[in-house]
């Protein structure tokens, strides 16, 4: 590594206080300054921060947006999500043709790299890609050609944005072609919001009263798991600790979910206000908004909102002029890891570590960020808080269904005429959702993303709520011509790529599930494979350490339940004598020996 690069690395470390808990910022900055975090750079970082090289490597090698080998000046990351692949497999070929390289390669001039990336949250405007931090949407063969031409002339991806998306996408700090596609506005999230009003109401109450209000409203976590928010705040407030933290989970990675992207764009004030109220309620002085790397284009905008609120006295020392109430927020960028949406993995990442989930207990409420009591909530959950304080918990709790109060954002994509964001009351049936989004003949709907369930028409009358069809927002619609088993295999591939590898069942089990499903898809399924998949899936579900592993076999388990016929059709009893191992091709296995022996097998001739 040249001396200039060495000093660049050193400067970056100094800029972040040589603080190893800020390792994410350090390695991200080195990656963007030098195109990679090379072996020498890792040594330099370790030296500057007084840590070990292998600890730096453990971080760099974990996140998909970081790498040890140089990438092109312009990195084109094509969304590998199921919906994107459904809508535009030809764009892959178009990029490969225009750039003259294959997926995973870099052009010889070092200008372009082309790679896959997991769902980037643009399913309603698929196919889409990230070009460095810039999102490009509604891709077509022609558009790809134009994009590559423009980048050759000027490698700044910002210049690609000719027309802006709606709302704040046109804000100079967002500068994006992304569309919000808000199709339905409900009373809570997209209702009237008056800046600072709910916060002032909260500050006029005691922290305990604020928590009680959230409890009375029966607000539950909107990320998918549905833990009661008030109870979480109560635990965090009651736990022993010198500092307390509020963490906002904006690592929206569940494929098919893109509500946080829209909320960050259009409701950032409401979100920050919700975090501030949470900070007051639990007695935290600091909040961290963990933003997924795929939404880096929103960072400057969100930080500007935070800065303006600080300037206006809505954040900082003595919030709203109330002495002793201190709360401020920083944005922590992720670097490409779905598992960091798991709250303890998110905490690990905020601490500058690889995104391995932590052992529970202790739970974050008692020992979270840097060992301090921490409340981690989803973006949408925080956005629900100001309206609850504004209109009262009773107003909130009268909406929705029993056990699932209020409204929910659904992000709908796939085979429907109106993909986008819908704010609905909890309790709506899936059939009504399908009608609303313009899908007449859905064959299957994936509710809750790959970790959720694949639902067939016989369950379309079930309700969207925590107790029936739970979802963090993702609703993917599949028409009659789609192959649900092929979709399940793609979901499994996603979990294989995105798992942390910490525990055995998830690390190995998902590889094995995928192997068998691929075999079935290749026409080599045996009747015994269904029981094999069921049992293996249950081992992974039961044995895995965190929510990722516990839900990762769902693509197989839920299609086995809802689309058993599709398996049965492909897992026919073999007609030949090779009934036990249809995946085994005896002719192929004998080929080498036959060629050495110079004759064909007498027993296994055609």
């Amino acid at each position: 590594m040249s001396n200039t690069n060495k000093s660049t690395v050193k400067q970056i470390c100094v800029r972040h206080g040589k603080d190893r808990t800020r390792m994410m910022d350090i390695v991200r900055d080195v990656q963007s300054a030098l195109g990679c975090v090379s072996s020498e750079a890792m040594d330099a970082i370790a030296q500057a921060c007084g840590t070990h090289r292998v600890e730096v490597e453990s971080v760099v090698s974990f996140y998909s947006f970081l790498g040890t080998k140089p990438k092109g000046k312009v990195v084109i990351r094509l969304c590998h999500g199921v919906i994107d692949r459904m809508h535009g497999s030809e764009t892959v070929a178009a990029f490969e043709k225009e750039l003259g390289i294959r997926m995973g390669e870099t052009t010889p001039d070092g200008l372009f790299s082309l790679e896959w990336t997991a769902c980037i949250g643009m399913c309603d405007q698929a196919p889409a890609a990230l070009i460095n931090d810039q999102a490009v949407t509604y891709l077509s063969t022609d558009k790809v050609k134009r994009i590559v031409e423009m980048l050759r002339a000027d490698p700044d991806p910002k210049r690609l944005v000719r027309t802006y998306g709606d709302g704040n996408n046109a804000h100079e700090l967002v500068h994006s072609m992304v569309h919000n596609n808000i199709r339905r506005r409900g009373a809570v999230i997209f209702g009237a919001y008056e800046r600072g009003s709910a916060l002032r109401k909260a500050l006029a109450m005691t922290p305990q009263e604020v928590i009680r209000a959230v409890k009375t409203a029966s607000l539950r976590g909107r990320g998918g798991a549905g833990f009661p928010t008030g109870m979480k705040w109560d635990f965090t407030r009651a736990a022993q600790g010198e500092q307390r933290y509020v963490l906002c989970n904006a690592d929206e990675g569940e494929p098919g979910t893109f509500k946080d992207r829209v909320l960050l764009t259009e409701c950032a004030e409401q979100l920050i206000e919700g975090m501030t109220i949470a900070g007051y309620a639990i007695g935290a002085a600091e909040g961290i908004l963990y933003l997924r790397a795929e939404y880096a284009y929103l960072k400057a905008f969100v930080e500007a909102v935070v800065a303006q609120r600080r300037k206006d006295g809505l954040l900082g020392a003595s919030v709203c002029g109330k002495a002793g109430v201190i709360f401020d927020i920083r944005v922590q960028m992720g670097a490409g890891a779905y598992v960091c949406g798991e709250e303890t993995a998110l905490i690990s990442s905020c601490e500058g570590l690889r995104g391995d989930p932590k052992t529970r207990p202790p739970f974050p409420a008692s020992k979270g960020y840097l060992g301090c009591p921490t409340a981690v909530n989803n973006v949408e959950t925080f956005c629900c808080v100001p309206p609850i304080l504004e209109h009262g918990p009773g107003w909130f709790a009268q909406m929705g269904s029993s056990g699932s109060k209020g409204t929910k954002l659904l992000t709908v994509s796939g085979d429907c005429s109106m993909p986008g964001v819908y704010e609905v009351d909890f309790g709506i049936t899936l059939r009504d959702v399908l009608k609303m989004v313009g899908s007449e003949n859905a064959k299957a709907v994936q509710v809750g993303g790959p970790s959720g369930q694949m639902v067939g028409p016989e369950k379309f009358d079930r309700k969207v709520c925590y107790d029936h069809l739970a979802t963090g927002g993702s609703v993917m619609v599949f028409g009659p011509e789609r192959d649900v088993l092929a979709i399940a295999a793609q979901f499994l591939e996603f979990f294989m790529d995105e798992g942390c590898g910490y525990c055995t069942p998830c690390r190995v089990g998902n590889v094995l599930l995928k192997e068998r499903l691929d075999r079935i898809l290749a026409g080599q399924g045996a009747p015994t494979d269904m029981a094999y998949l069921q049992e293996l899936g249950e081992v992974v579900k039961m044995g895995s350490r965190c929510g990722l592993g516990q839900t990762s076999p769902n693509p197989v388990l839920t299609t086995l339940a809802s689309f058993r016929g599709e398996y049965e059709r492909r897992c026919q009893p073999a007609h030949s004598r090779h009934v036990f191992l249809p995946g085994f091709d005896i002719r192929k296995a004998l080929a080498d020996s036959e060629s050495i022996a110079g004759r064909h097998s007498v027993v296994y001739s055609e």
Binding site: V54, G501, C503, T504, E515, V539
Partner: protein
């Protein structure tokens, strides 16, 4: 005493102390809960999942879950044993484990678990990964073909040796045991007397030149199954 807790393990009442894990309380009572990543001298890791038990019907790793009064714990049941077997089989197919040519044979905890469970052959297809061997160090070698990613060496290096020789790198199926050097174990401060080498349950982290100091047939698990020492303590 308030810090004594009583739990039920497979119907038997077991007394434990607050702060103990289920694994520790069971062990003190002479009940063996099969485990691989757990080690009595190291902090808990909860990664292999072999020690999974049902606590009031919910799966939990016994090595990380603290005991609490009144817990109903299932350990030695058909369902759990089948799951544990499945996990051990996963570890066998994930790496390249050739017991017949491994110096650890007879002292290997993975092998011993397989024998205890009566695993003749894994139900899963072998994945035959390409893994590397680091023979650079004068006294120690790493054979990643045999590594089960239990993290014992990672913890022992920090907790006992007061070094940072090992850490995990990569993720998912690409997770591997990383070392504190660009390429070679020889460039780290690993030493032959390190606890990290001693605690490896399999033949991944080995001392050189002593592989057959104890003959096959006289090794730890050659005569009694793994866990027998714990079960012998049962009143």
């Amino acid at each position: 005493m308030s810090d004594t807790v009583t739990v039920t393990i497979d119907g038997a009442q077991v007394k434990g102390r607050a702060g103990q894990t289920i694994l520790q309380a069971a062990e003190a009572a002479g009940i063996y809960i099969p485990r691989l990543c757990a080690h009595n001298e190291l902090s808990a890791h909860g990664s292999c999942r072999v020690c999974t038990v049902l606590v009031n019907g919910r799966p939990q790793a016994a090595c990380t879950q603290p005991v609490a009064d009144g817990m109903i714990i299932e350990n030695n049941t058909e369902k759990l044993t089948n799951m544990r077997k499945a996990i051990v089989e996963m570890l066998f197919v994930e790496g390249n484990h050739f017991c017949m040519s491994c110096e650890k044979s007879g002292n290997c905890e993975l092998q011993a678990l397989a024998y205890r469970f009566g695993i003749a052959a894994p139900r899963y297809p072998y994945l035959f990964p390409k893994r590397d061997i680091d023979f650079s160090h004068p006294d120690i070698y790493i054979d990643r073909n045999r590594c089960v990613l239990c993290g014992r060496c990672v913890r022992a290096s920090r907790e006992t040796d007061k070094k940072v020789v090992f850490e995990f790198t990569g993720r998912g199926a690409h997770r591997r045991l990383g070392i504190d050097a660009a390429a070679d174990l020889a460039d780290t401060d690993a030493a032959v007397a390190d606890k990290s080498v001693e605690v490896c349950p399999v033949g991944a982290l080995m001392r050189k030149r002593v592989g057959y100091a104890v003959p096959v047939g006289q090794r730890k698990y050659d005569h009694k199954p793994i866990g027998s020492d714990i079960e012998a303590k049962r009143a």
